[in-house]
Amino acid sequence: MSKLDSKIPAGPIETKWTKYKSTVPLVNPANKRSLEIIVVGSGLAGASAAASLAELGYKVKCFCFQDSPRRAHSIAAQGGINAAKNYQNDGDSTYRLFYDTVKGGDYRAREGNVYRLAEVSANIIDQCVAQGVPFAREYGGLLSNRSFGGTQVQRTFYAAGQTGQQLLLGAYSGLERQIGLGTVTMYNRHEMLDVVKIEDKARGIIARDLVTGKLERHFGHAVLLCTGGYGNVFFLSTNAMGSNVTAAWKAHRQGAYFGNPCFTQIHPTCIPVSGDHQSKLTLMSESLRNDGRIWVPKKKDDTRKAVDIPEEERDYYLERRYPAFGNLVPRDVASRAAKERCDEGYGVGTSKMAVYLDFAAAMERYGKTEVTKRGLHNVSKEEIIKLGKEVVAEKYGNLFEMYDKITGENPYEMPMRIYPAVHYTMGGLWVNYELMTTVTGLYALGEANFSDHGANRLGASALMQGLADGYFVIPYTIGNYLSTDIRTKAIPTDHEAFVKAEKNVQDTLDKMMNIKGTKTVDYFHKKLGKIMWDKCGMARNEKGLTEAIAEIQALRAEFWKDVRIPGTQNEMNLELEKAGRVADFLELGELMCRDALNRKESCGGHFREESQTEDGEAQRDDDNFSYVAAWDYNGGNYELNKEKLEFEIVHPSQRSYK
């Protein structure tokens, strides 16, 4: 059988998962106690998986590189989480969430996986509420919803602009409960640096204790990578500073195929770059597009202040180009439209690489509603705006404050300036329906896998996927593997495979420390980021990508000759940690460019300039590219394998949001 068996269960789409669950082999409780599972990562995917598996009775070890599992990057998610609850009675259903996600992903995701995701979405909300996640509520005491891009129903659950924080703290509390019970052992400030394979199965990891610098060997019957996305390959992104590809990349080098590496999401609404010192970019949640209107001046190089530009001289370009979805078009579409306006010279702010996100109309509209609600009379315009501001503050207060702190400007008084930034990676380790990679016993969950979002992720769907994978999918699918493994005793870590793996890691660390060159790690990271942003960013073409590959190879060679890492290995050494991550990004960047070069069509976040419609929309090529590109590392020669996508339910068509 080909390595790329997606293992989608047979039968009608509505029954696949139910049937799978009721027929999958189980592991009896006594056996579970002697089966050990390693979970790398404590974000939504990792924390929910570790807690749920421990509840089932498995022995779990969980790892994260931060000082506490609660700090995983999921904590920063702002806007919300989707679920097909149809609490608003606005026509939502499992099918509609499934359909929106497949379409939003520009028909590059697997139907079977996406349907399952939509199916379990409702259980996630139940689970979170039971854990004490304080979602926003209406006055009647029931849960509140908002809209996100790419949909026409209200299915997004939220907790102000801190949804990721509240969901992660929920999952973290479940994880801590298991830690307290002794069923999960937690390893904070540990970084996984390799997968250990024995007889072609993943049987453990090598991790570095980031406080002492010591390398450790850990055995597991199965290994789960829940290590997040790789957006930081661009240096500047909305990801946390530590987010990295290392775990996934080491797995890739050990034989796990990498799926669709070039599929990157550029988020349309982020705070623009302010100077060379910039270390990261800050997202302004998509939820703001519920109420904010995006515009640029109709005149090129208009230097007037936003408030001085009269209504008729403003170009609300999303509303103009996409009347059906307006400001709520999907992210890829909104980002490209902003780039197009700025490239044409209509951008605003000192850099001219920004557009306005304006809340004036929303404040007035909400103000008027409040006036009616409260039965007020003879209210002045200022009064109305004041009331409207209060409503806006309740919805987005923390985001407005964050904007003010970073830019020193008050978004209640003037529109925000925003520009697209790297945000999420749809690509990741290739996994089958059971979330297993091409290495037996090695799984990938959450943003680290490639699975459900195709070429573009819809807003509020990453939190849903991470928790679906961890709470509701892996607890079942892992049984199918471990039920065959109950006779395997824990393998002692003096086994030669562990010894060899540790030595490899040690050799790489020695090599890096001994370069003693002249340039800092950030020097290389910034250079790589610039190549990626210019040539493998929002628009890509054959010439640029070919150049980028050569440039990255040269930069990588320079890194291994000239990087300087002060200090020693046997202590906390933050530069060494960064160097290891950048070394892996320098390989991943090349693979992303190769994948982008291979995919000659435009789809979702991947825009090949050679493939566009007359009015500049992405032009897919289903005849030639309706497949998942799954790359085999193959000693650095990167071999392409294709998993053909079959669409039985949703028929691919030119995506239109007009």
């Binding site: 000082d67 506490s68 700090r71 609490y87 509420v129 801590e176 904070n188 500073m241």
Partner: protein, 248 residues
């Protein structure tokens, strides 16, 4: 602008540590405080020195990882702001800035400005949860919750676990942190069944970790970057008293 920085350097937990003075030149107003340190660290590495170690990750004021005591205040001069969200426009040209780690017996220094806050995790593990296994839940809307209670629970749940409350308290008390979690769960109907055991277990763990007693000075609330309210401490005290009397 140009600044003088007095930074606490400490090689490891057993080292005594001392202040070292650095000059930060050409600092832009638009830089964040951590970006200012990034630039200094780049210079240190170029000179072959060890960069200043500090904890940080999200740089968006939400993960709770950054933790610097700046000019005698946890997270620096701007109220309601984490170190990573503090920007240099809050400082003046020529100023001297003193930067220290959190200081508390329950937060031992690991290196430079990095401290060990795992005691917070152990307090949560002792009771900061609702015991509900995956799959046990009923429909999310089956139990309406008054908006006010939900909002109050959310306000308490906004704690990022940074430890500034402990660092700024003269007794190194962790009451604000612990009470925020106790309150959040006590305010929600889902959290009521375990309310009594939760508060007792969490307080017990807090004491075992070596945090000091609360003497109501209120500096925790004043310095908390998420403006967690002292009302939470009052609520926890009530919960604690009630639980102790009930002999739970």
């Amino acid at each position: 602008m140009n600044l003088t920085l007095k930074v606490w350097r400490q090689k490891n937990a057993s080292d005594k540590g001392a202040f070292v003075t650095y000059n930060a030149k050409n600092v832009s107003e638009d830089m964040s405080f951590l970006e200012m340190l990034d630039v200094l660290n780049e210079e240190l590495v170029e000179k072959g020195d060890q960069p200043i170690a500090f904890d940080h990750d999200c740089r968006e004021g939400i993960c709770g990882m950054c933790s610097m005591y700046i000019n005698g205040r946890a997270h620096g001069p701007q109220n309601g702001t984490t170190t990573c969200q503090l920007h240099m426009r809050k400082f003046k040209d020529g100023e001297t800035i003193t930067i220290e780690p959190w200081r508390a017996a329950a937060f031992p220094v690991i290196k430079d400005l990095v401290v060990d806050r795992s005691s917070f995790d152990r307090i949560i593990a002792a009771g900061g949860f609702i015991s509900v296994n995956t799959g046990n839940a009923q429909d999310a809307n089956s139990l309406p919750i008054a908006k006010k209670d939900a909002d109050d629970a959310f306000a308490a749940a906004a704690c990022i676990g940074c430890g500034a409350c402990v660092a700024s308290c003269k007794n190194s008390s962790a009451m604000l942190f612990v009470s925020a979690k106790v309150s959040q769960l006590a305010l929600l109907p889902q959290g009521r069944p375990e309310a009594a055991t939760r508060v007792l277990n969490m307080v017990k763990q807090m004491d075992e970790e070596g945090f000091g007693n609360c003497t109501n000075t209120g500096s925790c609330e004043a310095e908390c970057p998420k403006e967690i309210s002292l009302e939470n401490i009052a609520r926890m005290n009530r919960e604690f008293l009630f639980a102790s009397l009930a002999g739970a």
